[in-house]
């Protein structure tokens, strides 16, 4: 038996090798890159070249890593996270690691879902420099994503003392998930009306407001999303756009959702949302079969390269695109172990509803109760699950 399973595993390994071809014409465009007059990329390359000459120079290394991460975020090109990591490699395995290096390393680890490694670095930094705001913010986000709201609030409060709006934006999510959603909304309103803070803080605060508004079922959610999307810097914000597309989808505004998601199809999450929206209106529409294959190939390529698996993304693909609720539930449960945001909860509950497994909801139910989480979408899913359980009980 183990042997058969083993053979099956071997068969499931990806072929990994695409067909080769010779392009038709010499002027066929194979790749679009930043043109040579792109000042930002030029500057990054110069910084990297200079760093290569002096690998241990901390201010050069951290400046490059920081710029590379910012560029990765704007351009959605994950390679720049790798280049940032490369710049910090000098301190790998050393005992004395400068705080700035630790914070950047934690940022990269967090991006890669290695939360424990990120927390280890951040705890060390904050033990020595309790006022390190970047470390506070990053740690607050990790605590919040993993459901430790009290700890997140403690970190955000430190930020708030120095950067009011940034701190308020930071506080909004953990507060709203520990029974104070209305208060968190009011706090955001008040501080946004004061027009304080910089662009980034405003974008974050507005995004948080739309997020909380949606959870509470507020009639103004649409307006708040619009305000967030119109903020300076929102253009590059994939998470915000995809969340808006998700919101539109929940309102039955399928065509608009597809339109928003389409611009982000280069990412797996964007492609999944775009497919969801298009499949809702017509599952046989042209392009859908091809995009499903595209998604499958991408997820396969990600698994093939090893490393931490992104169970949440795989769960969403299994649930919405392949419509395999049992498998999606398995994946969503693994994801729930790692992170506990409302969208992770939704994924798990939806998979539980679709696969008729009301018992699977217990961890989410516990989380909701223990933290007094307010979320109408989750309540609706739980009610649906209750119906399923009841009809199952009647059947037997």
């Amino acid at each position: 038996m183990p042997f058969c399973l083993f053979l099956l595993l071997l068969l499931l390994l990806p072929a990994g090798h695409a067909s080769v071809f010779v392009p038709d014409a010499a002027d066929t465009v194979l790749l679009r890159v930043a043109p040579s007059d792109n000042a930002e990329v030029q500057r990054l390359r110069q910084m990297r070249a200079a760093l290569a000459e002096a690998p241990g120079r901390i201010e050069m290394a951290t400046a490059f890593a920081q710029a590379a991460i910012a560029h990765a975020r704007r351009s959605q090109d994950a390679r720049w996270y790798g280049y940032a990591e490369g710049a910090l490699r000098h301190w790998q395995g050393r005992e004395r690691v400068p705080a700035e290096v630790r914070v950047l390393r934690a940022t990269l680890a967090q991006h890669d879902h290695r939360f424990a490694a990120a927390l280890q670095d951040l705890d060390q930094v904050l033990a020595q420099q309790p006022q390190h705001l970047q470390a506070r913010l990053t740690r607050a986000v990790i605590h919040s994503v993993q459901g430790r709201y009290a700890q997140a609030i403690t970190d955000c409060n430190v930020v708030r003392r120095y950067r009011v709006l940034m701190g308020v934006a930071c506080l909004a999510t953990p507060r709203s998930l520990s029974g104070e959603a209305e208060q968190a909304l009011r706090m955001l309103h008040t501080h946004l009306a004061l027009a304080e803070g910089d662009d980034e803080a405003r974008l974050w605060a507005r995004s948080a407001r739309a997020d909380i508004g949606w959870r509470l079922g507020s009639a103004e959610t649409e307006i708040w999303f619009r305000e967030a999307l119109d903020s300076a810097g929102a253009r590059h914000d994939m998470a915000l756009h995809l969340q808006y597309a998700d919101f539109l989808l929940s309102q039955g505004r399928v065509a608009e959702a597809a339109e928003v998601a389409r611009a982000w199809e280069d990412s797996n999450e964007g492609l999944i949302l775009s497919l969801r929206a298009r499949m809702r209106s017509n599952a046989e529409a042209p392009g859908i079969a091809q995009d499903r294959r595209r998604l499958e190939a991408r997820l396969e390529a990600e698994r093939a390269r090893g490393g931490a698996r992104h169970f949440g993304t795989e769960a969403a693909a299994a649930l919405y695109v392949w419509q395999q609720p049992a498998r999606a539930l398995w994946l969503a449960q693994r994801n729930w172990v790692v992170q506990k945001t409302p969208s992770d909860a939704r994924l798990l509950l939806r998979a539980a509803v679709d696969s008729g497994q009301s018992d699977a909801a217990v961890p989410v139910r516990d989380w909701l109760r223990e933290n007094a989480v307010q979320d109408q979408r989750l309540q609706a899913l739980l009610a649906q699950l209750g119906q399923t359980a009841k009809s199952q009980a009647e059947d037997t």
């Binding site: 042997f3 053979l7 090798h17 040579s36 991460i69 974050w204 995004s207 990412s267 090893g306 992104h310």
Partner: protein, 378 residues
């Protein structure tokens, strides 16, 4: 470093924490096929990576054309091939480049570089050393697929594992079977805790527990069968968890498994003195077998066998374990049977033996649980 820009970084993590920013990091796909002394290769490197390494857009208009890729051919070769070393029997194989074409992968287009390696002698052992891009991008991965002697090997080359070694020689199956059968039987002798556990189960097999205490068993056949049932249950369970560990499906912290093994010895010995479990002892043996098997994760892991060979090795090993236990039981049982009426057997063998086992088991338990070393106590 202004706090302003610092704070900006936070945003890429935050905002309702979308799962991830998912554009795939850099990979290359390397395929090698070994035929006698020749290594036929194809290496797909992302155009995006090559652009970073050699600059594929000399006119700077933001579009990389097929013409530009072709013109960069020698630069591409100079930036890639020196980062790949093939060695057979210690000698570096010469590599000559072939056609440069384009391959499509899930995240875009790649340059597909064909090459031929020429090794000094027919390849029986090959080392692949890979060093592309790691200096600027530690998240880069080289996905190697290698065909040698009718077998296909896959591995992921990364900064912490830049080399892959493979050898043509898979051991002949007959000798392999004997080797692992012997190892299985030896495994019983070598692991003293294993042996002790077995003896604890063996000692009272010739006795029956009654209200008034231990009495000699009357039915030799029944006593033997009970013993065989216990040993077999133990072996089957042991085989299950050992196989799962060898196939890497089960990974338990060694310290806890070893602590649990010590606990099973205490339990088995205690059971001889105070009746804890009297019936269906085989079920206890089965459960404990699972624990003992998991403790030997290292025995068969990482041998580099292909699947059928590994399956045969596992089978032989487990048969060896069973055989070894039956042999020990067969050697002890006749003496125990003859001595069973002697009160001495009970008072000088079963009771002190079990007590000694409890002492040893407790010592191991403490040692493994709290990392106590004898030297530190003395």
């Amino acid at each position: 470093m202004k706090p302003f820009t610092w704070l900006g970084l936070a945003l890429l993590l935050c905002i309702s924490a979308a799962p991830l920013w998912a554009h795939k990091p850099s990979d290359s796909y390397l395929q090698l096929t070994v035929e006698k002394s020749q290594v036929e290769g194809r290496w797909d490197v992302a155009l995006r990576d090559l652009h970073e390494l050699v600059g594929l857009d000399p006119d700077g208009n933001g579009e990389v054309t097929w013409q530009e890729v072709r013109d960069s051919r020698s630069a591409i070769i100079a930036a890639t091939l020196p980062r790949l070393t093939l060695r057979s029997a210690g000698a570096v194989c010469d590599v000559a480049t072939g056609a440069l074409r384009i391959a499509e992968h899930s995240d875009g287009l790649y340059a597909a570089l064909a090459f031929d390696g020429q090794c000094a002698a027919p390849v029986e052992q090959l080392s692949v050393h890979y060093d592309l891009l790691f200096d600027i991008d530690p998240s880069h991965r080289g996905l190697l697929r290698l065909e040698l002697g009718g077998r296909t090997y896959s591995t992921i080359l990364q900064p912490t594992a830049r080399q892959f070694d493979v050898s043509l020689e898979q051991p002949a199956l007959g000798p392999l079977f004997w080797t692992y059968l012997r190892q299985g039987a030896w495994h019983i002798w070598a692991g003293f805790d294993h042996l002790l556990f077995l003896l604890c189960l063996l000692l009272p097999a010739v006795l029956q527990r009654r209200q008034e205490g231990w009495v000699a068993a009357t039915d030799a056949r029944r006593a033997t069968m009970e013993l065989v049932a216990i040993i077999t249950a133990f072996t089957v369970a042991h085989a299950l968890s050992l196989s799962a560990a060898a196939l890497d499906w089960l990974q338990l912290p060694t310290r806890w498994v070893e602590t649990a093994v010590a606990a099973t010895i205490i339990f088995a010995a205690l059971n001889n003195l105070l009746p804890l479990v009297q019936r269906r002892l085989w079920m206890v043996a089965f459960f404990f077998g699972l624990i003992h098997g998991a403790g030997y994760a290292g025995v068969l892991a990482g041998l580099g066998f292909d699947a059928p060979t590994l399956a045969l090795a596992l089978l032989a090993f487990n048969l060896g374990v069973e055989g070894g236990q039956i042999l020990i039981a067969a050697a002890c049982l006749p003496f125990a049977w003859m001595a069973r009426h002697q009160p001495l057997y009970r008072h000088l063998v079963v009771v002190p033996g079990s007590a000694l086992a409890i002492l040893l088991g407790s010592w191991w338990l403490a040692q493994r649980l709290f990392h106590i070393r004898l030297e530190t106590l003395l």
